[in-house]
Amino acid sequence: MNTKIIRRSFGLTLLLTTLLACNAEFDNPVGDETHFNSGSADLSHFVSLGDSLTAGYADAALYLHGQENSYPAILATQFAKVGGGDFNQPLVSDNLGGLLFGGNANPAFPNRLILNAETESPEPIAGISTTEVFSPLTGAFNNMGVPGAKSYHLITPGYGDPAGVSASPATANPYFARFASEANTTMLSDAVSQQPSFFVLWVGNNDVLSYASSGGTGTNQLGNLHPSTYGSDDLTDPNLFASIYSQVVTALSAAGGKGVLINIPDISAIPFFTTVPFNALPLDQETVDLLTSGYAEYNAGLQAAFQGSLITSDEQQERSITFSVGQNAVVIEDESLTDLTGLTLPSIRQATANDLILLTTASKIGEPVSEGSTSLWGVNTPLADEDVLTPMEIDLITTARLAFNASIKGIADSNDNILFVDVAELLNEVQQGFSYGTGSINATYATGDAFSLDGVHLTARGYSVVSNEIIDTINTGFQANIPKVDPGAYSSISFK
């Protein structure tokens, strides 16, 4: 083939390409920035304040990918299209998660979870974390999300003091210690000093969640207005919450900025509390017979207690333990039952659909309490208080949460510069299956794409759905037109 033919065939191709050039274009293409605007909001100095959900925590760890896809980071990316400024986050050093304390790993801060499809269980990703707690970052950080923070921590001086991290018991939070401006500062103070023109506040989750995720082993601090006397798993007093929340919002608004307040989701919308069924125990006839005779003495004791008028017939019914072939309710400890230890009867019963068995209990049910033991969790040994939320504990959580949410909404409603985002309602929708047009997410553990492998925190995709809800609220409330994001473009869980 000579060059002439090559040139000619090239020319022909060029001609054809020109003749047939056609792009499919929409009348109103997405991404057309000419329509975007921030309405009455000034997004130039955006600060977010909150806890792990704000930090981008996921899969039981704070890792780079999670931070890069935190809802404040997603918002900031969209805000940048309508006048938003730089958005600095206190980024960790790697994608493993996990923290080093003076070079030492700490089992309380393991690497992020990945799903092992062969064992069908989550496990921490292999590798040695490189994020050092005691090498503090400098500068101001727009994302003031600190995993573990409760409402009152926002105004607790020394919550980011490295010395307090090492104290026993710890008085400071290692995540905040990494980027607190000084030892004695507060989270709120570091946020306010940035004079936000716009802020998002999502705090209060841990005020109920740490009580809930510890199986209700903490104390309900109703009436106690002194957080310094609280234990880490306690339920915060709603009046204390309301007064701190109001103080925080006032301080954040001091620079004249506008903001968004986000409420607290219901634990019944969170897979950590809803994944393990109450009747998680499959039994065959032989085991049923064995267990039935094993519990015969306890059931007979209940009958005696009823006849002695120590318990009602309802309680006798509730506490009687029966098994049949197939799926059976696990046996749990319930401290709210009448104390019959005088009759050597433990406070146990079988779980019902009204109990919530924690995700962390899943690996325990039916397993021996110690190696080689014939005592099996939930079978002939009751699941402990820390494994289960009973209806009484759930009621306490719900009461506190509704009080918190009422305070949040009340503060938002009374201030024209502040909008309210009902994430509780959003996550209720997610539980039913939430469609965003090009895909959908639901709250099913591991496969629903909304929640990360810790069962509490969201995936990047879940956080993007929250971001869209916030953007919707801003667009409506502040007459803005900020583009939303495509949740399908954000990641879900990771497999091994």
Binding site: A24, T438, D449, S491, F495
Partner: protein, 414 residues
């Protein structure tokens, strides 16, 4: 023969479907110029495809007509709610056609046609919003159709053809809306079947009821391409899932639907002819594109449930000395029902505007040109039958299509 097929496959690579579904109506330059009518037109060997009964009505003893019709089609998708947007980057399609007709005597003619009536090439950006439905698809088919026609009298003839069909298909999509490997690259599967062979037939009748009016009826049978134990390549699978998703083989059937044509041509005079064709394509045969994998992916259920669809075609030709000028228009109704719209054949109703030109170089040689422009409206559509982890995940948004074809061919007749 094998070598010929290889060459033909090379040429017919990547034909963008632009009719409803993956029917590719580009079976001749002269016909395309007149809105792809031809069921009652008898001026070239293109009749082998359009109506083999017309072979006996050709004037010449031998007619060889062939060409290529490069077509560029693209599609765009967007969702205003999520701001998701994507555009295809489809390769240029080059469907070919070759026809030859030889007259044996006044009653009998025989012929051969080689053409590519079904094809599709759609390439979305890897990992786009609909990647769980499709990343890329490429379908090629070649029909090789020997034919014979018999003329009863001056008015009526019938013709029949038998088609040997060979097809290739390659299809890539992500395994789910989220599964990714350790590096965040989405897990995907490619299925590939080449040299899948099948048989079909077509039968036609032509009636020249007066010197000015011709009627034609043509029926083309459906063809089922059955891929058996062809390779399925699973890529970017996270390590703990690799035992569950090894590379494997798959079985799948793809139906190329039957088509019925009713046609009429009216000769105003020796120079001007008008043609009207009605096509009904029996797309209801395309119920699903289910793929059976021989690993734990199991059966991928992909309901399609197309419905039969119509195309209405009108064309005109006017001859001035050695030039023939053609123009045409057609309305192509989509076979896709609401809720079944997939990005693998993202076409909606369209209007085709065509034009053509022929130049007779000599008594024996004619050059043919054709041009097609398809008009599509923007439209909203969804696919509501994608299942994942037991829940249905709809995929909806706006689509916009374009397609332009520019064909050239040669006719030799004696």
């Amino acid at each position: 023969m094998k070598r010929l097929l290889l060459i033909l496959l090379y040429f017919s690579i990547s034909s963008s479907a632009f009719a409803g579904g993956y029917r590719l109506s580009l079976q001749g330059q002269k016909s395309l110029g007149m809105g792809h009518t031809g069921g009652a037109i008898t001026d070239s060997a293109e009749v082998v495809f359009f109506n083999p009964a017309g072979m006996t009505f050709l004037q010449s003893e031998l007619d060889i007509t062939g060409g290529v019709t490069p077509i560029q089609g693209n599609s765009a998708f967007q969702n205003q709610i999520t701001q998701a947007g994507a555009e295809t980057d489809n390769p240029l399609g080059t469907p070919i056609n070759f026809y030859a007709v030889k007259k044996i005597n006044e009653q009998v003619s025989y012929g051969l046609g080689i053409y590519t009536p079904f094809g599709n090439a759609v390439e979305w950006e890897q990992g786009w919003a609909g990647s769980h439905l499709l990343n890329t698809i490429e379908l090629q088919t070649i029909f090789i159709q020997p034919s014979v026609a018999y003329q009863f009298n001056d008015v009526l003839s019938i013709g029949i053809g038998v088609s040997y069909v060979t097809g290739n298909i390659e299809f890539n999509r992500n395994l789910s809306t989220s599964l990714a490997d350790e590096n965040g690259v989405r897990s995907n599967v490619t299925i590939e079947a080449s040299g899948v062979n099948a048989w079909g037939y077509n039968i036609g009748m032509l009636a020249r009821i007066s010197p000015t009016i011709t009627f034609g009826i043509d029926y083309r049978s459906k063809v089922e391409l059955e891929a058996r134990n062809e390779p399925a390549d699973f890529r970017n699978i996270p390590s703990s899932l690799q035992n569950a998703f090894p590379d494997t083989t798959f079985n799948a059937d793809l139906v190329l639907p039957a088509e019925f044509t009713l046609a009429m041509a009216y000769h105003f005079n020796a120079h001007t002819v008008v043609a009207v064709d009605f096509n009904r394509t029996f797309w209801s045969a395309y119920e699903n594109l289910n793929v059976n994998f021989n690993n734990s992916a199991g059966t991928s259920l992909n309901p399609r449930n197309y419905e039969d669809s119509n195309i209405y075609r009108l064309g005109v030709q006017h001859q001035i000395e050695q030039f023939a000028f053609r123009a045409g228009v057609y309305i192509d109704k989509t076979p896709v029902k609401p809720g079944y719209f997939t990005p693998e054949a993202p076409r909606n109703d369209s209007i085709g505007i065509t034009s053509g030109l022929s130049y007779a170089i000599s008594e024996n040689w004619v050059l043919d040109l054709s041009y097609l422009f398809l008009i599509f409206d923007e439209f909203d559509a969804s696919y509501d039958f994608y299942q994942q982890s037991g829940s249905t995940i709809p995929f909806s948004g706006e689509y916009k299509n374009t397609a332009i074809a520019f064909g050239f061919g040669v006719q030799y007749k004696i």
